[in-house]
């Protein structure tokens, strides 16, 4: 069994509260929602039910790029059990589009569809099957238009413009209207540095379209309210961002759209964009009845954005003694038909495109295209994933060309605290890149030939192909590969990325109880666990209740960008500190005259009491708060400010925090059939401070597995001729099963970042970066093949493409 290890090296900065609260930070407390989740009682967004509710259904385009000549809803409307059929003409307000950054996405298609599966009409009916059949009776006549599917077709002289008459804050600086956003990063003098290089390595890399494939499908319930507004229960990553986009389309003020988070069945970036939220509200307001929409898996593949597929061209140089000289890179991301988060993904891919290495002379260009492919936006790793796949392949190639060990070569060039990024930003907290690599390399190798049994024959379950019984070990070779990556934490480039927390402290039945109320989306990451831990630590109470997340409290920002524990955790900590000050104020007023320590000592809240830093008890919380109004505070928390990257040079302190992880992959490949079995994916990651080690390790293992998936099986396949999605199902879009997933030993470092709450480092995305290139490197090591594309399919290994 893999042993996880945890290390706090001597002499590391720890500006961490020494806490002794039971169930406080640093402990692996269990999830408060665990019991509900294992008994089936936890209410996910698809579990909502309301008396008299209707079912909503979306009709989506069957073609990728077309003019809508006509829509005939008469047959659908006439069906028994159908309450409403809505098209673009039924939208109630002047605002008909939405979008995270650029409002270019129609709520319902108007005159044109730009990608396969675009919503065109909505139906509400009394049974989901009735709704489906009614939607099928809507007749739409399309006049198909030529499709734009890649860079060549997007930038061709006569290319159709995906968004004619674009007018957004990027349209002024992009070289072509089919480019959503372009970000160059230029530092030093690449031409001069190239002269100093003894070896130059070039590579062209292709990253396939990955899907978040969360298990809980897009779903929710909209209930019309008596005040003309609507109550929406939905799974999302950011309630307030949804609200900002929903209310204008409904023609309602934001206070009349009351949102409550219902149970979220995973997210991974796929719930940052609006899916069924507005549609459900439109149907509910039109019919005057509650409307539930639940996508099936097929529709879910059209219901959210995917990870940008990318083409990356990389050129690195190095000196004979193994020092990197320069990097020149071009990263082309396919953003699909609508902008979604493409601009920010471009910023990430370019600014992190050099990886966790010291390279003084850099030219990177990243662009995102508008095409007629499915829209792409946020997914765990957000632009850094695609870059990491390319630069890590390059590191192996350079090491091979120099005759050096790939890990040693990386360690020679690894960045550390004080390194200057290609953006000019100084990395001002620990960056243990070399140490993470050292740790994964030092781990003992998993035993060879694990399929061999004491008795006769092989345990085929331990072999590539498994119970298909395709080999007993003949043709099976082992390979080992390494990778390391760098990710930013939080929203970047000057975005005001604040978070809010409300904390109430009162005495109930003689016991102090804290309530934490935020709008944080709990998507499975364990924020609810950590908030209670923080409140226990800061307020010295045992009893903490977590108020359901809703829009009655200020924004918590998004559960994404590895930011939520940093930001909303920080907000909870911040507000708790203010609550503590209030407690001490009341204490001084009531008891100050009884003990000089009230005026002079550092006072703490521990074990339900006010104590001096010397451990002397001054009063109990219960006594202080007795007869007082509950202390009820709501405060915002901000990380340090950032600035946008310069549009020409890419210079600027654009990121809040950096985070690092490394992987070692061990694979076994049946070279006869091209089947890959990953035996072990060891990982090491610096998390600054683990607030809850059980959750931390779970996050790292989950992120690692998503990286493994894209390495060997995951890809949304879009027909290059028609731009139609060919595999929108779990039958054809494969995610790793427990048989595909190896043992994942995790080594956690805790090198505090002095700028962050408790010194923590955002951790959710970093493991998704280096996992993929490590697996690719291991397969290359096993087979000797070049392999520059994800996912690696059997035909790529057997030369039968």
């Amino acid at each position: 069994m893999a042993q996880n290890t945890r290390t706090v090296p001597a002499g590391t900065p720890t500006n961490v509260t020494q806490n002794h609260a039971k169930g406080g930070i640093g402990e692996s407390t269990l999830r408060p929602d665990g019991t509900l989740k294992v008994t089936g009682e936890f209410a996910y967004s698809s579990d909502m039910w309301h008396e008299d509710m209707l079912w909503g259904q979306t009709l989506r385009s069957t073609v990728a790029h077309a003019e809508i000549v006509s829509i005939d809803i008469s047959e659908a409307v006439a069906m028994s059990g159908v309450y409403a059929v809505l098209t673009y003409d039924d939208l109630p307000s002047e605002v008909k589009n939405y979008g995270l950054e650029i409002q270019d996405t129609p709520v319902l298609a108007h005159g044109k569809v730009r990608h396969h599966g675009e919503p065109v009409a909505l139906v509400a009916a009394d049974h989901p099957e009735t709704a489906r059949r009614a939607a099928a009776k809507i007749k739409i006549e399309y006049r198909e238009l030529p499709v734009v599917t890649d860079e060549a077709s997007a930038l061709a002289p006569d290319a159709p413009l995906i968004h004619e008459g674009r007018d957004d804050h990027h349209s002024g600086h992009v070289p072509h209207p089919n480019i959503v956003h372009r970000q160059p990063i230029i530092r030093g003098d690449v031409a001069a540095a190239r002269e100093r290089a003894d070896v130059i390595v070039e590579g062209e890399y292709v990253f396939g379209m990955q899907d978040q494939a969360f298990l809980g499908p897009e779903s929710g319930l909209a209930v019309p309210a008596e005040d003309g507004g609507v109550d929406l229960y939905v799974a999302t990553q950011w309630l307030h961002s949804d609200l900002k986009q929903i209310a204008p389309v409904l023609g309602l003020p934001e206070e009349k759209v009351r949102m409550t988070l219902s149970g979220v069945g995973g997210a991974f970036g796929g719930r940052e964009d609006i899916s069924m939220q507005i549609h459900a509200c439109l149907l509910a307001l039109r019919t005057g009845k509650p409307v539930k929409i639940v996508y099936n898996r097929f529709e879910s593949f059209f219901g959210h954005v995917h990870r940008h597929p990318a083409k990356l061209h990389y050129e690195h140089g190095a000196t004979k003694d193994g020092k990197l000289t320069h990097l020149k890179a071009r990263i082309v991301l396919d953003g699909g038909a609508y902008a979604s988060a493409s601009p920010a993904v471009v910023g990430n891919a370019s600014s992190l495109g050099a990886g966790p290495y010291v390279i003084d002379d850099v030219e990177i260009e990243a662009v995102a295209l508008y095409t007629n492919n499915p829209p792409c936006g946020a997914m765990r790793g957000f632009g850094a994933v695609q870059a990491c796949f390319a630069y890590e392949a390059q590191m192996d190639k350079l090491a091979a060309k120099l005759g050096m060990d790939p890990v040693e070569f990386r360690r020679m060039n690894a960045m550390e605290q004080g390194t200057v990024m290609p953006t000019g930003q100084v990395v001002d907290s620990p960056a243990p890149v070399a140490e993470l690599l050292r740790r994964v390399k030092a781990r003992p190798m998993p035993p060879e030939r694990q399929w061999e049994t004491a008795g006769e024959g092989a345990d085929v379950r331990a072999l590539p192909g498994g119970l298909s019984n395709t080999t007993h070990g003949e043709g099976v070779v082992r390979g080992v590969g390494y990778a390391v990556g760098i990710k930013n934490v939080g929203f970047s480039e000057g975005f005001d990325d604040y978070s809010t927390a409300r904390v109430v402290l009162q005495v109930i039945n003689g016991e102090p109880v804290a309530m934490v109320h935020t709008a944080m989306a709990e998507v499975g990451q364990g924020g609810v666990t950590v908030h209670a831990q923080i409140a226990r630590t800061e307020l010295g109470v045992t009893q903490v209740t977590i108020h359901p997340a809703d829009t009655q409290v200020g924004s918590a920002g998004s559960t994404s960008a590895s930011r939520q524990t940093y930001m909303t955790g920080g907000a909870v900590k911040n507000t708790c500190e203010a609550v503590r000050e209030k407690v001490l104020e009341i204490g001084r007023r009531k008891n100050g005259s009884y003990h000089p320590a009230w005026a002079t000592a550092e006072l703490l809240l521990e074990g339900g009491k006010v104590v001096t830093d010397g451990g002397e008890v001054l009063a109990t919380l219960a006594d202080i708060l007795e007869g007082e109004q509950p202390i009820d505070l709501e405060l915002e928390f901000r990380h340090r400010p950032t600035v946008p990257f310069d549009l020409v040079t890419g210079q600027g302190d654009g990121h809040v925090q950096y985070t690092f992880a490394a992987h070692r992959a061990v694979v076994e490949v049946d070279t006869e059939l091209g089947l890959v079995k990953v035996i072990e994916l060891a990982t090491a990651q610096d998390v600054g401070k683990a607030l809850n080690m059980l959750s931390v390790v779970g996050q790292i293992q989950g992120g690692t597995t998503q990286g493994l998936g894209v390495a060997v099986m995951e890809e949304i396949i879009v027909d290059p001729k028609t731009a139609k999605v060919r595999n929108p199902s779990f039958t054809d879009y494969l995610i790793p099963t427990i048989l595909d997933t190896p043992t994942i030993p995790v080594d956690v470092l805790e090198l505090a970042d002095p700028n962050a709450p408790y010194g923590l480092r955002g951790l959710g995305e970093a493991p998704t970066l280096s996992s993929t290139p490590a697996v690719l490197a291991a397969i290359r090591n096993a087979t000797g093949l070049e392999l520059n594309k994800t996912p690696v399919r059997p035909e790529a290994l057997t030369g039968t493409l």
């Binding site: 294992v38 039910w49 809980g216 979220v264 990451q525």
Partner: protein
């Protein structure tokens, strides 16, 4: 049509069932038992796994009419099902003999209990596999959890001390997107170990 069947030891009937409805839909939308999940509705993910006459099946692939007169156990009934099995031995077949439900003696001893709490497990009696999932950190978003619990419980009923390969094989029909499965393996190992100690 009307369908009569037993769910978690209690006789149930569903009215106005359309012939194309799945058992999953009937459980979730007609019986008020949303614990069985709807992640793919095409038999690929295992999130809707229930036991039908003892056999783990994807309830999304079972037509409602097929369960006429049969017995279904869902995650909502897992704790009671496991308790019954512990008292009456494996192969007892759940609640067929009417041993499920509440006996008169038990009813007389009934007391109001505090709301449940993951931290301590107080206030709710879970099956060993459910408790192990919580303790091992095998629950993140939790959407795959009910199906995994049914499958893992059935494995431990068959095999008290499964190897890692056995666990992987038994759970290979259940997709999880959050955990990377490692903690799920931990949970099954933990439940098996605790079961071994209890014997």
């Amino acid at each position: 049509m009307r369908v009569n069947f037993t769910v978690n030891g209690r006789p149930q009937e569903a009215d106005d069932v359309w012939e194309g409805e799945s058992l999953l839909y009937v459980l979730r939308e007609r019986m008020g038992l949303p614990g069985s999940k709807n992640a793919c509705e095409q038999g690929e993910c295992g999130s809707c796994t229930v036991r039908l006459d003892g056999v783990p099946v994807c309830s999304c692939l079972v037509a409602a009419g097929q369960v006429e007169g049969r017995e279904v156990v869902t995650v909502e009934g897992l704790a009671e099902f496991a308790k019954d099995r512990a008292e009456h031995g494996a192969g007892h077949g759940g609640c067929a003999s009417g041993a499920c439900g509440t006996s008169l003696d038990e009813a007389k001893k009934w007391q109001a209990r505090p709301t449940q709490d993951s931290q301590t497990g107080e206030g709710v009696e879970l099956s060993p596999i459910q408790q192990a999932f919580i303790d091992a950190g095998a629950v993140q978003c939790g959407f795959c959890t009910p199906g995994l619990l049914i499958a893992a419980d059935e494995l431990l009923e068959r095999q008290s001390d499964p190897s890692d390969q056995d666990i992987r094989e038994a759970l290979s029909g259940n997709l999880c997107r959050c955990t990377g499965y490692e903690k799920i393996l931990d949970a099954v190992r933990l439940a098996a170990a605790r079961q071994g100690e209890a014997v």
